[in-house]
C-alpha cells in the first residue's frame, strides 16, 4: 500500500487551491490566493507569499492580538517583573497562566510573579474620565505589596482609544518609587497580529532594560538565547545542555528569564536566535549597539540541535569547546537513535500539517522528518515574508500602513560598551569556511517540492485541508484542536504542547517521537464509527442459530 506521503505526492495541490478559493467572495478569493503557495523546495527562489497583512473580517482566523504578543509572549515568561494590564478585566484574565511558560526561581524567596494576574479592571467611569489616575494608584499598590524590582504596564484597546499615556505614568512612577517602571503601547488593534506586540515588547525592553547592568555572568563562551519561551520546560533542557558543553548562558529572551538577565545580556559574546520572527530585530540592535554578532540556531530536532551546538562551538573556535560539544553529542545520540528506530515502523511515510506561530511551524518539521514523516502543508499565524522566503527578501518587503504603526527605534553604537567580538580577519576566515551569520533561509525552500504553504490560514481552509488530504496528524493551537479531532484526525497543540514536553534538544526530541507515535497509533480513532455505522445492512446472524 502506498504511504500517505506517496499518495500526497501524486496529487496536484493547485487543484486543492482552486477548490478552496471557489467558495469565497471574489475579493476575498483574490486576497487569499496570494497567501497560498506551493513550495518548489530548494528551487523556490523568487516564489513570493503574501504575509503580515490584515486578517479579513468575518473569516475565522487563528490569530491573536498585539497585546497577546507583547504581554503574553515576550514579557510573560519573565518571572520577576510585575506586569500590570491596564484595561478592563478580560485581557489580563485571559493572559493569566495560559501560555505554559515554565520558570524556576532558584530560591523560595526569589521573586516569581507569574502566577499572579494584575489588572486595573477599568470601569465605565475610567473609560469616560480617563484611567491614568487609577493606573498610578494600581502601581503604588502593587509596589506596596510586592516590592518588585520592575513594573511593566500594558495598554489594551480601550486605553489607546481614550488616550491614557502609560509612558507618562511609568515615568512618574519610576521617579516616585526608584525602581524601573516602563510601559508598552501594545493595544490589540495595532498591527495585524501578535507579531506587532513582539516588536513593541522587544523595543521597550531594549530601550529600558538591556545594557543597564555591566555585571554579567563570568564564563569563557558566553551566549544569549533569543526567541525561546520555555513552553513545557524547553529552556530547562537547553540550559542543561549548554551547561554540559561549558557554554555560559547569560540571558534567555525570554524563557525562564529574569530582569537581571535582560539588563546584563550585552555582556555576552554571541546571540543565538531560535524564533526568528519574534526577535530578530533585537539581535540586530544588539549587534549595532554592542557589537554582538548573531546566528540562527534551532534546538528543535536532534540533528538541528547537534548542528546548532557545532555552530556555536565553531564561532568561538576553541578546540576545547569543539571537543566538548562533540562529546556531548556523542553521549546523547545513541538514545535518540534508539527512540527513532523504535517508533519508525509506526511513523514512517505518514503525513503532518503544521499551522502555528512564527517559527514552530518550521522547526517542528525537522522532528517529524527524523521519524520519517513528511510535512505536506504548513504556515505561520503571524510571520512576515522573510520567515517564509528567507532574509534576502528583507529589502524588498514593502512597509505598509499597519507596519508603520509600530515604532522602529534608532540604535547607535554604545560609546563605552560597544566592542567588536571578532576581528575582520577572524570574520573573513569563518566566512571562508562557510560559516554564516544572520542567515535564515525561511520555511518555503526547506519544505518538499509540491507541499503547501499557507499564511494566516483560517477555519474554513483548515477544515478543507483536513478533508482533502486526511493527514495523520495536524498541529495548530487550542482553537483548532477539536474541530480536527472531530474528523478523527489526531491534533497536536504546538503552542502549549498539549500540556506535555519538553520537546527541545535531544531529550525533548525523544519525548516528541514517542508522543507522535502515541498519537498516530492511538486505538481510540478506530472507535469513531459504531459497528452499525460501518456496516448498516441488517442481515441477522445469531450465534445460536
Amino acid at each position: 500500500m502506498p504511504t500517505k506521503t506517496e499518495e500526497y505526492m501524486k496529487k496536484d495541490p493547485t487543484d486543492f487551491k482552486e477548490e478552496i478559493l471557489k467558495k469565497y467572495p471574489p475579493k476575498v478569493a483574490r486576497k487569499r490566493a496570494k497567501s497560498i503557495v506551493i513550495s518548489k523546495g530548494k528551487e523556490s527562489d523568487g516564489l513570493e507569499i503574501q504575509a503580515n497583512v490584515r486578517t479579513i473580517p468575518g473569516i475565522i482566523t487563528m490569530r491573536g492580538c498585539t497585546y497577546a504578543g507583547c504581554k503574553g509572549v515576550i514579557l510573560g515568561p519573565t518571572r520577576d517583573i510585575v506586569n500590570i494590564t491596564h484595561g478592563p478585566v478580560g485581557c489580563g484574565f485571559y493572559s493569566w497562566l495560559t501560555r505554559r511558560n515554565q520558570t524556576s526561581a532558584p530560591n523560595p524567596e526569589d521573586h516569581n510573579f507569574m502566577p499572579y494576574c494584575f489588572t486595573t479592571d477599568m470601569q465605565d467611569s475610567e473609560i469616560i474620565f480617563g484611567g491614568e489616575k487609577k493606573l498610578m494608584a494600581a502601581i503604588l499598590e502593587a509596589y506596596e505589596i510586592m516590592k518588585p524590582k520592575a513594573i511593566a504596564l500594558f495598554s489594551t484597546c480601550p486605553v489607546g482609544l481614550i488616550g491614557d499615556d502609560v509612558h507618562a505614568v511609568a515615568r512618574e512612577a519610576k521617579e516616585k518609587l526608584g525602581i524601573n517602571v516602563f510601559g508598552f503601547s501594545c493595544e490589540g488593534y495595532k498591527g495585524v497580529s501578535q507579531s506587532a506586540g513582539h516588536h513593541i515588547a522587544n523595543n521597550a525592553i531594549f530601550t529600558n532594560v538591556v545594557g543597564t547592568d555591566d555585571n554579567g555572568k563570568e564564563g569563557k563562551y558566553k551566549i544569549n538565547l533569543l526567541g525561546e519561551y520555555n513552553i513545557g520546560g524547553d529552556a530547562f533542557v537547553i540550559e542543561d545542555l549548554l551547561d554540559r558543553c561549558g557554554i555560559t548562558l547569560v540571558s534567555t529572551f525570554s524563557g525562564n528569564s529574569t530582569y537581571d538577565q535582560f539588563a546584563t545580556c550585552h555582556t555576552a559574546d554571541l546571540n543565538a536566535i531560535m524564533c526568528h520572527r519574534s526577535i530578530n530585530y533585537v539581535a540586530e540592535m544588539m549587534e549595532t549597539k554592542f557589537g554582538i554578532p548573531w546566528i540562527k540556531v534551532n534546538f528543535i530536532g536532534a540533528e538541528a540541535t547537534a548542528k546548532s551546538l557545532r555552530k556555536i562551538a565553531k564561532y568561538f573556535g576553541d578546540q576545547e569547546l569543539i571537543d566538548k560539544v562533540e562529546a556531548v553529542i556523542a553521549e546523547e545520540m545513541p538514545a535518540v537513535k534508539a527512540a527513532q528506530d523504535d517508533v519508525r515502523s509506526r511513523t514512517e511515510g505518514k503525513t503532518a500539517m503544521l499551522f502555528v506561530g512564527g517559527s514552530r511551524a518550521h522547526h517542528y518539521q525537522e522532528l517529524f522528518a527524523e521519524i520519517g514523516m513528511t510535512s505536506i502543508a504548513a504556515g505561520y499565524e503571524f510571520a512576515h515574508r522573510d520567515d517564509y522566503e528567507g532574509r534576502e527578501v528583507l529589502p524588498t518587503i514593502k512597509v505598509d500602513a499597519d507596519s508603520r504603526n509600530i515604532e522602529e527605534i534608532e540604535v547607535e553604537q554604545d560609546p563605552t560598551r560597544f566592542k567588536p567580538r571578532k576581528t575582520p580577519e577572524e570574520l573573513e576566515k569563518l566566512a571562508a569556511e562557510g560559516f554564516e551569520f544572520k542567515d535564515y533561509d525561511g520555511m518555503i525552500p526547506e519544505m518538499k517540492p509540491k507541499t503547501l504553504v499557507m499564511d494566516d490560514i483560517n477555519q474554513y481552509e483548515a477544515d478543507k485541508l483536513l478533508e482533502y488530504y486526511k493527514p495523520d496528524i495536524f498541529c495548530a493551537g487550542i482553537k483548532e484542536k477539536y474541530s480536527a479531532q472531530k474528523m478523527g484526525i489526531p491534533m497536536k497543540q504546538l503552542h502549549s504542547y498539549d500540556y506535555h514536553g519538553p520537546y527541545a534538544a535531544f531529550k525533548g526530541a525523544i519525548n516528541f517521537y514517542y508522543e507522535i507515535d502515541r498519537m498516530v497509533s492511538a486505538k481510540v480513532w478506530d472507535l469513531v464509527k459504531a459497528p452499525w455505522e460501518k456496516s448498516p445492512e441488517l442481515a441477522a446472524a445469531y450465534n445460536w442459530e
Binding site: P57, G58, Y94, P115, S483
Partner: protein, 460 residues
C-alpha cells in the same frame, strides 16, 4: 509556594485587582450565542478579544468553538467599524453559511460607540443577508459587569431579536437556564420533561459545546435552541428565569413586551433551589409532580443524612458567579457546613443582601466574609487568616489549594484542568448528589492521606 508573595496582612486596594474572580462580558455573550442552533457568534472589535474568548471556551469545554471577528485595525478604531462588520457579515454568510449571526461588541467598539443595530440594518440593505437568515446583537462593554452580564445581554438580544407574539398560546414554559454547563442545561430539560412540562429552553448549549464524535466536523452541531422556538417564546405560558444575574433581563423583557409572566429563581443547585424550580414548573404548567421526581429527591436527601457527619461545621470558602454562589452556599448550609469566605468578581449589591439574608436564616454563629466585587488574592488572604476545610471555585483556586494544603472542588468557569463539568450536571437532585460526592471525596481523601497508621480506617 506558588503564591508566595501573598501576605497575610490585608491592605485596602482601591485600584489594583489581583487574580480576578470574573472575566469580561463578550465571552458570556459568545457562550450564550452558541446555545442557538445554527448560530455563528461574532465579536465586533479587534481580533484579539475573539481569539481569547474562543481559546478560553475551548480550554473549558474541549470542543470546537467557532466565532468570527471584525478584525479592527487602527483605522477601524478611529473611523468606526461599520465597513468591517458589513464585510464580515457578507463573508460569514458566504463561507460558513450559518442560520443566524449573533453579534456582540467589545470594549473597543463600545468605546468608539459603534451602533451594531444600524450596521446590521445596513448589511441587510446592502443585500448581505440571505433570505431567511437572521442577525441578532447585543452590547457588551467589558468595563461594566462581567462575563455573567454578557451572557444576560445576549439572552436579552435573543428575545429582542427573535421573540414574537401571535396571540395563540403554545402551551409551553420558557426556561432560561442561566450561565451553566451544557450538562446542566441537559439536566434541566430532563427534569422538566419528567415533571411533564413542555419547555422552550434558551440558550441551550448542550450538544453544541459537548458534541459527540462523529468523524466529521460540523460547525453547527445538532444541539441548540431552534430559531422557531425562540420566536415562539413570546407565546409561552410563563418564563422561569434561573439566576437573577444571568437570566432575569430576558425574562422581564418577555413579560413587559409580550405579557409572558416571569419568575426569577435561583439556579437549581442543591435541594432547596431545585425544589423551588420543580415547584415553579408545576405551578406554571398546572401539573402534579410525579413520584419519580420525588423519589430522586428522596435519594439525595437520604445521602445527605447518611453523610452529614463529615460535613458538620466544616468551613468552606467559595468563589465564583453570583448566580452559582447563592444556591451553592445554601447547599453547604443545608449540609451543615460553615461558609466562611465568599467572593464574587461580578459587581451587584443585591448579592450581599441575599447572602446576609441566607446567613440570618441559617442562624450562623459567626459572620462570614463576603466580597462583591472581590478578587482571589483577597480570598487567599482571608484563608490565610482563617483557614478552611474546603475550597469551591474555578481552576485558578488550585494555586491557593496547593499552597495552603486545602481540598478543593472545581466548580464554575473556567475549569481548565479537569474533566466532567461539561458532561455531568451539578444542577437538580442528581447534580447535587455529584457535588456532594466531589466535596466529600476531596475532604476524605485528605483525611486518608494524612491520618496516622493507627487511625487509618477502612470504613467511613
Amino acid at each position: 509556594m506558588l503564591l508566595r508573595h501573598t501576605p497575610k496582612e490585608i491592605k485596602e486596594r482601591k485600584a489594583l485587582v489581583i487574580n480576578p474572580a470574573k472575566t469580561c462580558q463578550p465571552i458570556g455573550a459568545m457562550y450564550a450565542a452558541l446555545g442557538i442552533h445554527g448560530c455563528l457568534p461574532h465579536s465586533h472589535g479587534s481580533q484579539g478579544c475573539c481569539a481569547y474568548h474562543r481559546s478560553s471556551l475551548t480550554r473549558h469545554y474541549k470542543d470546537p468553538i467557532a466565532a468570527a471577528t471584525s478584525s479592527f485595525t487602527e483605522g477601524a478604531s478611529v473611523f468606526g467599524g461599520q465597513a468591517n462588520l458589513v464585510q464580515a457579515i457578507d463573508n460569514m454568510f458566504t463561507v460558513y453559511d450559518p442560520e443566524i449571526i449573533a453579534v456582540h461588541t467589545t470594549c473597543l467598539s463600545e468605546t468608539i460607540g459603534d451602533d451594531v443595530a444600524q450596521i446590521a440594518d445596513k448589511a441587510k440593505q446592502d443585500g448581505k443577508v440571505p433570505e431567511g437568515k437572521k442577525i441578532i446583537y447585543c452590547h457588551t462593554p467589558s468595563y461594566v459587569g462581567s462575563h455573567v452580564t454578557g451572557f444576560s445581554n445576549m439572552v436579552l438580544g435573543m428575545v429582542k431579536g427573535l421573540a414574537e407574539k401571535t396571540g395563540k398560546k403554545n402551551g409551553k414554559v420558557n426556561v432560561i437556564p442561566g450561565y451553566v454547563e451544557p450538562s446542566d442545561m441537559e439536566e434541566i430539560k430532563r427534569l422538566s420533561a419528567m415533571v411533564g412540562v413542555k419547555t422552550i429552553m434558551f440558550p441551550d448549549t448542550s450538544g453544541v459545546v459537548n458534541s459527540p464524535m462523529t468523524g466529521k466536523y460540523n460547525m453547527y452541531p445538532d444541539g441548540g435552541t431552534k430559531i422557531a422556538d425562540l420566536k415562539s417564546s413570546g407565546d409561552s405560558l410563563a418564563t422561569i428565569a434561573l439566576g437573577e444575574w444571568s437570566s432575569a433581563d430576558g425574562a422581564k423583557y418577555l413579560d413587559a413586551t409580550y405579557k409572558v409572566p416571569c419568575q426569577v429563581l435561583d439556579l437549581p443547585i442543591g435541594v432547596t433551589a431545585t425544589d423551588n424550580f420543580i415547584d415553579a414548573l408545576r405551578k406554571a404548567a398546572g401539573v402534579n409532580v410525579p413520584d419519580s421526581v420525588t423519589k430522586e429527591r428522596g435519594v439525595l436527601v437520604d445521602a445527605m443524612c447518611d453523610y452529614q457527619q463529615y460535613f458538620h461545621q466544616k468551613k468552606v470558602a467559595l468563589v465564583g458567579d453570583p448566580d452559582q454562589l447563592i444556591p451553592l452556599t445554601q447547599f453547604c448550609i443545608n449540609l451543615g457546613m460553615y461558609p466562611k469566605h465568599i467572593v464574587t468578581g461580578t459587581p451587584g449589591n443585591k448579592f450581599r443582601k441575599r447572602m446576609e439574608e441566607m446567613f440570618a436564616e441559617a442562624d450562623l454563629p459567626y459572620t462570614p466574609n463576603v466580597a462583591v466585587p472581590g478578587d482571589m488574592f483577597l480570598l487567599h488572604q482571608w484563608i490565610k487568616n482563617e483557614p478552611v476545610d474546603l475550597i469551591i471555585g474555578n481552576t485558578y483556586c488550585k494555586y491557593i489549594a496547593r499552597d495552603e494544603d486545602i481540598p478543593m472542588v472545581r466548580h464554575g468557569f473556567p475549569i481548565l484542568d479537569r474533566f466532567g463539568h461539561s458532561v455531568f450536571p451539578s444542577v437538580g437532585y442528581k447534580g447535587a448528589m455529584r457535588l456532594m460526592e466531589q466535596m466529600l471525596n476531596a475532604m476524605l481523601d485528605k483525611r486518608d492521606r494524612e491520618s496516622s497508621e493507627e487511625a487509618f480506617e477502612l470504613v467511613y
